[in-house]
């Protein structure tokens, strides 16, 4: 097993043995149930509510996991000094980083899959049979995972450089900024004055999480174009690569305590 795989598996094992995860997934499943109930209150929009609430829950819970586990991935090992024994093995620091990354991504994939299964179960309960258009929900879930991958890479970057608390704040900041990046581009240039150029640059360089939001399409059964799927995948991969490269640069120069 490669070094990256070994570290990844260990990271996954750590996440699984941490009981908080089960509570979060349970909470998400409860939300699915609630969505079914809410759908009953209204007329004719059960599916829409289940899909939109369900996707929001998956996204939100995934975000919590990505941030709270992600910021500790490196900093916890440094604080607890467990990293010493590991780095004394023939393991490069970037392998360590990549291993942590894949481990958390894998954890998220497993949890998201569980929640998505709950979502489909709710849909099945309400609709009594699934149609091909429901597969669009899977695309939406995939997009959520792409978004989470970017967040994990950011959390790792902060984990290598600063304390857990600050990392959480930075991650939250990036998430909020990344959600409004789309609007930044349409802000009126005449109102911004000298900031217009800065805003424009930022709006392209900051991660654009709106790219991954297709809840509307999924809820109304409108198919997502394949080009978009490809583009988003490339975007996420490229962005993660950049951030992880930066994290690797920081980690390789860091004097451990």
């Amino acid at each position: 097993m490669t070094h990256i795989g070994a570290i990844g598996l260990n990271t996954f094992r750590e996440a699984v043995r941490d009981r908080v995860l089960y509570n979060l997934v349970f909470f998400a499943l409860v939300m699915m149930g609630a969505a079914v109930l809410v759908g009953q209150i209204s007329i004719g929009i059960e599916e829409i509510v289940i899909v939109s609430l369900g996707l929001s829950a998956i996204s939100f819970i995934g975000l919590l996991m990505a941030v709270f586990i992600g910021v500790g991935l490196v900093s916890k090992e440094m604080d607890k000094r467990t990293i010493y024994a590991l780095l004394s093995k023939p393991v490069r620091r970037w392998e360590f980083l990549l291993g942590k990354f894949t481990g958390l991504i894998f954890t998220l994939v497993v949890n998201t899959a569980a929640m998505a299964a709950g979502l489909f179960a709710s849909l099945l309960y309400v609709k009594h049979h699934l149609e091909r258009t429901d597969a669009i929900v899977l695309v939406a879930v995939y997009f959520v995972l792409l978004k989470l991958a970017i967040i994990v890479s950011l959390a790792l970057l902060f984990s290598c450089s600063t304390s857990s608390l600050l990392s959480i704040l930075y991650c939250a900041g990036f998430y909020v900024a990344g959600s409004f990046v789309q609007q930044m581009r349409t802000l009126r240039a005449d109102l911004l004055g000298p900031f217009a150029g800065v805003m424009r640059w930022l709006s392209y360089l900051l991660p654009n999480f709106q790219n991954f939001s297709v809840t509307g399409l999924a809820a109304h059964g409108v198919p997502v174009p394949r080009t978009l799927i490809l583009q988003n995948t490339l975007y996420a991969a490229l962005y993660c690569a950049i951030v992880l490269a930066a994290a690797s640069m920081i980690l390789s120069r860091r004097n451990l305590k």
Partner: protein, 318 residues
């Protein structure tokens, strides 16, 4: 000439601190030393002297401000070389949600050992460090001594050529310490090179071929424990009691006296003449023993010399 196992040249580590990081704390200064293959080398020094810093520099966990270090002939930046090196960190702490067996297995993976081989080694190691019954308990339930043993196990499970141990005896009861000493001796007999740091001087005296003493970031002395202490001739010590008669024994003038009992220190050559004198004076001989110079004295001497220098520097206002 075989390559020395460890080699450093003017290895220096400074930590900037204070406002805008303008001040510097010198953790290690111009360390130049060598550990030969097959040696057991002890690193002695008071707390904060720089022993752990040196070891971390060797392991590539921190980076030198200047100077170089080589392990098994390769620079410390060469991570591949870690295959032949075992390391026990100071205050070892491992993933507390794993069991000892799982931790060892996990670490073993990084040496690219096949699964069956790993299982076998893990079992052997657990037995060697006395943890075979506790192998499946999560580390969060382990005592400090048990964690120390796990640490030792993970340092040697891949049969490394060079073993570096940072305070291997800390946290262990006398039984544990004895076991660790035995393991170190076993490794030495197998031809391994061992570097360990400690502030328990008797361990160093017993185990090491050579020791290096570090005080305040500087290497103050390197050599075999006997050499360092620098006493070429042995002295002898006679304890005796003598009632009453003051006149005869000229020797009494050199003795220290507590009530009826006297202690006399003299060179080995003068032992038997002195005993004759005492016999003639009907003194009761209580004991005759060799005065062993101790590493402790040498050590304390170095420490206090360093402290004196430090306060002289302070007083002079620099």
């Amino acid at each position: 000439m075989t390559v020395p196992a460890i080699e450093t040249e003017k290895l220096t580590k400074e930590y900037p601190y204070g406002f805008l990081n303008l001040k510097k704390k010198i953790s290690l200064e111009n360390l130049t030393m060598q550990v030969d293959s097959g040696e057991v080398f002890g690193f002695l020094g008071p707390n904060g002297a720089g022993k752990s810093t040196t070891i971390k520099l060797l392991m590539g966990l921190i980076f030198p401000t200047s100077g170089t270090a080589r392990l098994l002939g390769k620079p410390t930046s060469n991570i591949e070389m870690h295959r032949d090196i075992g390391y026990l960190p100071e205050q070892p702490y491992f993933y507390d949600y794993l069991t000892a067996a799982e931790v060892l297995d996990y670490f073993a993976k990084f040496y690219d050992l096949p699964a069956a081989d790993r299982k076998d080694r893990v079992r052997r190691m657990l037995r060697k460090v006395g943890l075979e019954t506790a192998g499946d308990i999560q580390l969060r339930k382990y005592s400090k001594g048990m964690l120390q043993r796990v640490g030792l196990a993970q340092a040697i499970l891949h049969d490394p050529q060079l073993v570096i141990l940072d305070e291997p005896m800390s946290g262990l009861d006398p039984v544990g310490r004895r076991e660790v000493r035995d393991i170190i001796l076993e490794l030495k007999n197998a031809g391994k090179t061992i570097l360990f740091s400690t502030h328990i001087l008797s361990d160093a005296e017993m185990l090491c071929d050579r020791v290096g003493v570090i005080v305040s970031g500087r290497l103050q002395g390197v050599g075999a424990p006997g050499e360092l202490v620098g006493v070429q001739t042995h002295k002898m010590e006679i304890l005796f009691s003598l009632a009453g008669t003051q006149n005869t024994v000229r020797l009494l003038s050199h003795a220290t006296r507590t009530g009826d009992r006297y202690r006399l220190e003299l060179p080995e050559a003068e032992l038997y003449p002195a005993l004759d004198q005492l016999r003639d004076a009907s003194a009761k001989i209580l004991s005759v023993a060799q005065v062993k110079p101790s590493l402790e004295e040498y050590f304390m001497h170095l420490v206090s010399a360093d402290r004196a220098q430090a306060s002289a520097v302070e007083v002079s206002g620099k």
